[in-house]
Symmetry: C2
Subunit: 204 residues, 2 copies
């Protein structure tokens, strides 16, 4: 008997693919929000029954959190990759243009599930709201750290308030999520991105 939990192929095999089911769940949560999504919505979209959902993902809340993890780790995600760009300005540029492209993409719900998944919500959703707030605040913190690095790299003026700069950028990105929900297209978001960069300090 092994010390770790057995992962060998014992028992009846799962009849659905967990990753694609999770993708489907993400899309529903994205479009309807946590409170607006019922288990029937989920099981219908995922093509499975409730006991399968509970066995595979725990419960509604855990499924939501796993869907958010998937959202942030997907290949089309733009936030973390943008942090890798060589200069602060390019980081901002790629982030804003990535958001303009992604948030208005009609291949999935508009906006950003981290913003709109549980913004105002019932008490039952309070913990997932908290989780989303943490994600947003952590993203802002990561961006600040990146800008701090840029300051020592010399591609931001030494008197730059990196906290304010990160917050400004995140504010626009989060606003773009609302704009996408309003029906704004990629080109319109790109124009906002361009204006946003007007306020960005150039290399000192």
């Amino acid at each position: 008997m092994s010390a770790v939990t057995s992962t060998v192929n014992v028992g009846r095999p799962r009849a659905f693919d967990m990753d694609t089911a999770l993708e489907k769940a993400l899309e529903v949560f994205w479009r309807k929000g946590y409170d607006g999504t019922s288990l029937s919505d989920l099981t219908e979209a995922m093509g499975i029954n409730k006991p399968s959902l509970y066995a595979a993902f725990g419960n509604k809340e855990q499924l939501f959190l796993k869907a958010i993890e998937l959202y942030e780790s997907r290949p089309c995600s733009f936030f973390l990759p943008a942090l890798e760009k060589p200069t602060a300005y390019q980081v901002a540029e790629h982030m804003l243009h990535g958001a303009a492209m992604n948030m208005a993409d009609s291949n999935h719900p508009q906006g950003c599930v981290v913003v709109q998944g549980a913004l105002s919500c019932s008490e039952a959703a309070a913990s997932v709201k908290e989780a989303l707030i943490n994600r947003r605040v952590e993203g802002e913190q990561k961006l600040k750290v990146r800008f701090d690095q840029a300051k020592t790299d010399g591609d931001l003026p030494p008197d730059t308030d990196t906290g304010v700069l990160a917050r400004y950028l995140l504010t626009v990105l989060q606003g773009m999520a609302i704009q996408a929900n309003n029906g704004a297209c990629s080109e319109q978001l790109r124009q906002v991105a361009h204006m946003t960069l007007q306020a960005f300090p150039r290399a000192g």
Copy 2:
């Protein structure tokens, strides 16, 4: 007998004040969103029973729409008053500073109910979501018209794209609603407002 619907004091008088009850309803919808708010939440906050609510306000959806009307017409509202300022820059300035003050005010829920009342929502809330989108888009249109006026007034450069400028400003304002939900304070929002104005075209 009068031609208009009788408004005389006939029948048992209402035992509660409709305006203060509507204020209470607004606060609940603001904090919990349309989907996240139950009738029990509403009746408890308003201090009335369900039949009184239905008799006075119609149903949940109509109550929500009336609460939104109240929200936009309240004295502490900042959007429409800002449009009256003499120059485009002052319009933007007052709007941004008003938002910074109002959205983080701890005397009521944080953010903006027009943004967060029904962003992602169930199909049951689709019509109120649509109503909120319309409000946001109309606000953007009003701001554009104001900036068009500013262009003829000469306090915006003649080559200004007023549509983009209005969309940029609304994007930041809507992003500030998310920031307020994240827990940002007025001072932090004011810093964002200041940065936003860096991108604003000065008098041509």
